[in-house]
Symmetry: C2
Subunit: 195 residues, 2 copies
């Protein structure tokens, strides 16, 4: 039986709290505004505690990015046996909670364009994993395996591009109309059996 | 006849050179790396000259962003009477010169998510103008006016999303296959007269 170190457990717990506070800060203000000082303030811990857990700002940012990527990755999966899977994805990625994560994802992708290699790799891995996930879903809906990756990449790109338009312009009506147009095309395609 | 002030002309000329150097720096390194000191160095001018022309880093960044947005805005227009307009756009936005601008555009869009309101407005205006441009082009290709804005927004979003995937992952083959799949769908749609 493993012995439990109470002090270590408390520290672990505290680490999770601090990371949650840092993620919350980034969701509100973006990564540029993330400083050890500000996170220490909002988490109610000392600068020393923060350094104890994360050693540097870069490390903290990397962990916040991991958190955000794993949440956004889980968002746009194709639900099984759904009458309208594309619209189900759209509802998921545009709901109140998801929007905050997707907005930060758009910002992180921007950072990755000239960012440090670790950040760029995290974003690239996340995009590839998401495409694989959707490709697997498309196969369940009858898409031939040979086409699934191309269709998935194009589908995910359209949704990503629409969300980036929505968050940059705030034009809810225009972007929603564009999504409806797109979803109708995808439905046509599913109905004709991806032929 | 207007009198020409030689000194003013030289200054104007120098201003253009400095802005070009700053834009070049941003295209290589992103906006985060843009400092008055570095731009002064690469343009071969004094810090005082830079401040004379642009007054502050924020002003300089704003002008670089304007430059980049106007170049990227002119990229994805639908060529007139082209047998394959969608593929023509893709070739334009993925050529060697355009890629540098589009990469910086993705980074600027990321900044706009939590950036100052002026930057956010510039990005929003640029996206809206681009959609209008493509909508006008689609109408020339027989798209009903009532649908043109939705189709344009969806089309531009797909291309934007694919480029963001391409620059983040570098997966040239996967993204190109996705674009081909998408272009074939658009052709189908044009052939059936947008019905």
């Amino acid at each position: 039986m493993e012995r439990v170190d109470g002090r270590k457990l408390r520290f672990q717990h505290r680490r999770g709290e601090v990371l949650a506070a840092a993620t919350e800060h980034a969701l509100e203000k973006g990564l540029d505004d993330l400083s050890l000082r500000k996170v220490a303030q909002s988490a109610g811990v000392s600068h020393a505690t923060l350094v104890h857990h994360f050693s540097s700002k870069d490390r903290l940012v990397a962990e916040v990015v991991d958190q955000v990527l794993s949440v956004t990755l889980s968002l746009p999966d194709l639900p099984r046996d759904h009458p309208d899977p594309i619209r189900a994805i759209w509802r998921r990625v545009t709901d109140r909670r998801a929007r905050r994560y997707v907005r930060l994802f758009v910002a992180i992708t921007g950072h990755a364009m000239y960012g440090d290699p670790a950040l760029a790799k995290a974003v690239a891995d996340s995009m590839r994993q998401r495409n694989e996930l959707i490709a697997a879903g498309l196969i369940r809906y009858g898409c031939p395996e040979s086409e699934a990756q191309a269709v998935a990449t194009s589908l995910v790109s359209t949704i990503r591009g629409l969300l980036s338009d929505l968050f940059a312009t705030g034009d809810e009506q225009r972007v929603t109309a564009a999504f409806d147009d797109f979803a109708a095309e995808v439905e046509r395609r599913v109905l004709r059996g991806f032929a």
